[in-house]
């Protein structure tokens, strides 16, 4: 699966796109924890992160289907 990162968290990760394996029954939170395991510096972003699966906002207990795109969305500030 593909994880997309934006703005502050992308800058901190040094990456805008990370490919990760996904297991059957994975939730957004499970994928996030797998990602953070290798990148502990990103944990400070978690309290304000929002998530989108295939471009729909979801909560972190939502399922992540195989082949999905998960976006880690810092608080937005457009306009």
């Amino acid at each position: 699966m593909t994880v997309l990162l934006f703005a502050s968290i992308a800058e901190a990760a040094g990456a805008r796109r990370i490919e990760l394996p996904v297991a059957a029954g994975d939730t957004v939170a499970a994928v996030r924890e797998r990602l953070l395991a290798d990148r502990p510096a990103l944990r400070r972003f978690v309290p304000t992160l929002m998530y989108a699966v295939n471009e729909e906002y979801v909560r972190d207990d939502a399922a992540v289907p195989d082949g999905a795109t998960l976006a880690l969305i810092p608080p937005v500030s457009g306009g």
């Binding site: 703005a7 304000t48 989108a52 969305i73 937005v76 500030s77 457009g78």
Partner: protein
């Protein structure tokens, strides 16, 4: 409905033309513009980043909800990305309506809702540093830099 995330300059005339309707008596346009200061800091320029495909999808949903909620004739939402100088337009919305009350109310609601929901982020760049400005509207927090650098 015209919705667009683009690195190109936003043009008011295009947005006005996009919402033209013989039944419209009022058109409200709102431009979000880069200003030279924020919370006492002197701003040099801004950089906007978006999740473009999702941003356009969310903008279309918000536009459809605004039409329904305020009985609008049409609306258009455009957001610019990349580096923007002071005075340049980052957000452009246009809405047309039979009457002015719904044009103003719909415009206000659209801008408020775009700022809460559309996946776009801005970075302030000052003479001596920069910071992503995250969350002022989506979290209902005071507007404050997420992490200062430089």
């Amino acid at each position: 409905m015209l919705v667009r995330v683009t690195a190109d300059e936003l043009r008011a005339d295009e947005a006005i033309a996009a919402v033209a309707s013989p039944a419209a008596g009022a058109i409200d346009l709102f431009l979000g513009v880069v200003r030279d200061n924020n919370l006492g800091r002197r701003v040099g320029h801004l950089v906007y980043e978006a999740y473009p495909s999702m941003a356009e999808k969310v903008m279309a949903e918000i536009g459809a909800e605004a039409k329904e909620r305020f009985g609008l004739e049409a609306c258009a939402i455009l957001h610019r990305t990349g580096r923007l100088e002071i005075g340049e337009t980052s957000l452009l919305i246009a809405i047309s309506s039979a009457h002015r009350a719904s044009a103003f109310e719909g415009g206000r609601w659209l801008v408020d809702t775009i700022k809460k929901k559309v996946p776009v982020w801005k970075k302030e760049v000052w003479e001596d540093g920069e910071a992503w400005i995250e969350g002022p509207e989506s979290l209902g927090m005071q507007q404050a830099p997420a992490g200062l650098t430089g």
